[in-house]
Amino acid sequence: MTWNAVARKDFEDAVRSRWVAGLSVLFVLLVAAAAYLVRPAPGESFSSNAVLNSIFIRDALVTTLVPLIALIVAYNAVVGERESGSLKLLLSLPHSRADVVFGKVIGRSGAIAAPIAVGFLLPALVFVIVPSITFDAASYLGYTLLTAVLGVAFVSIAVGFSTAASSSRRAIAGAVGIYFLFVPLWGAVQFRLRFYFGAGGAPSWLPLTGQEVLRMLRLINPTGSFKIVSNAFLQGGLYTQGDVNMQVSATLMLLVWILVPPLLGLLWFREADL
């Protein structure tokens, strides 16, 4: 078991890429801009949770940008090494192919977690200083962590593609396809279905009710699962209040997205000639 050596090497390599430095700067700027836009009016005050919950951070930033960045950070993880030939160097050392795949998932997860951490924690300094914002440290750190988990889910999807793809062009096509499926397309389909089911209910051949279909659709999409978990968390009732079943399912769904794509990639990679 040498995945930790692979993960460490991969993280050290990835954080030296211009992408990660650039993404950290972008994150700091965007979170700072969001905080500025929802700043309290003079004489008012509110909690840092309000900033997190604002549409700027939750929808615009986290659920549209984090998946995109995670896919960019990770799509080349394995196929890039295959194309450059460094995979031969890597596999000349005593790593199993599973060590390579899971080392990559962990290394690139670190590489997406780093800009997320910097992006959220630097602006937090401002929240701590400004007296009109009550800084809720536990919620803020927890939300940062959940955002990192969402990033990891998309890193895992991208590494899965990267492991099974024969060229980086295919890996990037897979990543872009997943992004469009889960981010714009999924929302559009859900939106239409909500009207359709609202008007006449689900067609009778479906074994599920319209509500159940919509719940499924929310769950399957990692960004949907993330929203379910993070909303409950910010409201202080994760696994205790509201639809607890849904929250547990959403948590498991995120776990499935983190584990299954690399495993599927590994099934193919184990049999492949380099």
């Binding site: 090497k9 160097l89 596999l91 000349s92």
Partner: protein, 305 residues
């Protein structure tokens, strides 16, 4: 115990047979030179030892272990300089060696290794800026981590200047003196004859010769290379020549027939060619060198050594 044991190994890529029914045993502690022209199947064979590719048929055992099922255990005790590798452009030389040390879970000093291969002064530079020769030295340093029982070096001298190639040979010899088995490939005989106990010559996926350098020298000793200028000769015309006693190898490019043979077989060779309706215009002889023999082995279609 054999360090490397190939038994009836065949590797096909689609319709192309890269390695065909290869039997090869390299005993522990030996320095084995794996020779052959580019594209002969040397790298494919090495890739099977490392489980980079899997044989279509046959059995591959390295250090007594199944090369596919126990690949991690094999690579734990093996140092490798693979063919067609790339380095991590953004990481320094030292980071590369540190990665090898951590991967092999051993205690080793990266700086000492970089010093041994002669790039200690470049330890803190990103490997992306290294020359081909420096990369070759860097990967050799990674291979030497943990004093492996087996060194597998695929074309180790490529990219090195003559001085670098000599340093590489010195390291190979030192590793052999330590007790390591060294298996390395080359398409140039001159790079291996000074250090190898034995060589195997691979051509079009088949082992055409396997002998000690002394054995090869003996085969050559007193032998001559006969160059016969002819009107037109085909592979079929050479069958009769090869069947003659005293002939080691024969090849032709159509206009010239090159034959490695004992000095007293010359007349029989000319006779056999004329009998095959090949018009002999001219011929000359010279003493065969090892290089001539190697060329005869790797360019002819069949040899009887």
């Amino acid at each position: 115990m054999a360090a490397i044991d190939l038994d009836g190994v065949t590797k096909r890529f689609g319709d192309v047979t890269a390695v065909s029914d290869l039997d090869l045993t390299v005993p522990e502690g030996e320095v084995f030179g794996f020779l052959g022209p580019n594209g002969a199947g040397k790298s494919t064979t090495i890739n099977m030892l490392l489980d980079f590719v899997r044989p279509s048929a046959g059995e591959v055992r390295v250090l007594g272990l199944d090369a596919e099922r126990n690949s991690v255990a094999v690579r734990r005790r093996t140092g490798v300089l693979p063919e067609g590798y790339g380095v991590y452009d953004r990481l320094t030389g030292r980071k590369h060696v540190e990665f090898a040390v951590r991967s092999k879970e051993v205690d080793a000093d990266p700086d000492a290794l970089l010093d041994r291969v002669g790039i200690a002064d470049a330890a803190d530079r990103a490997a992306g800026g290294y020359s081909k020769g420096m990369r070759q030295r860097l990967v050799l340093a990674m291979a030497l981590v943990g004093d492996p029982d087996l060194l597998i070096l695929d074309e180790p001298s490529s990219g090195l200047d003559p001085g670098g190639a000599r340093e590489m040979r010195d390291i190979v010899r030192a590793e052999a003196d330590r007790g390591a088995t060294v298996f390395f490939s080359s398409h140039v005989l001159g790079q291996v004859e000074a250090v190898c106990d034995r060589v195997g010559i691979l051509r079009e996926g088949e082992l055409v010769a396997k002998d000690s350098i002394e054995g090869l020298r003996e085969a050559v000793d007193g032998g001559e290379t006969l160059s016969v200028t002819v009107d037109a000769a085909s592979e079929a015309d050479l069958e009769a020549v090869r069947a003659l006693g005293g002939v080691t190898a024969a090849s032709t490019d159509g206009g010239t027939v090159t034959v490695s043979c004992e000095a007293d077989a010359k007349t029989a060779v000319i006779g056999a060619l004329e009998e095959a309706d090949v018009t002999v215009k001219d011929f000359q002889t010279e003493e065969t060198s090892l290089e001539d023999l190697f060329i005869a082995y790797t360019e002819g279609t069949e040899v009887s050594a």
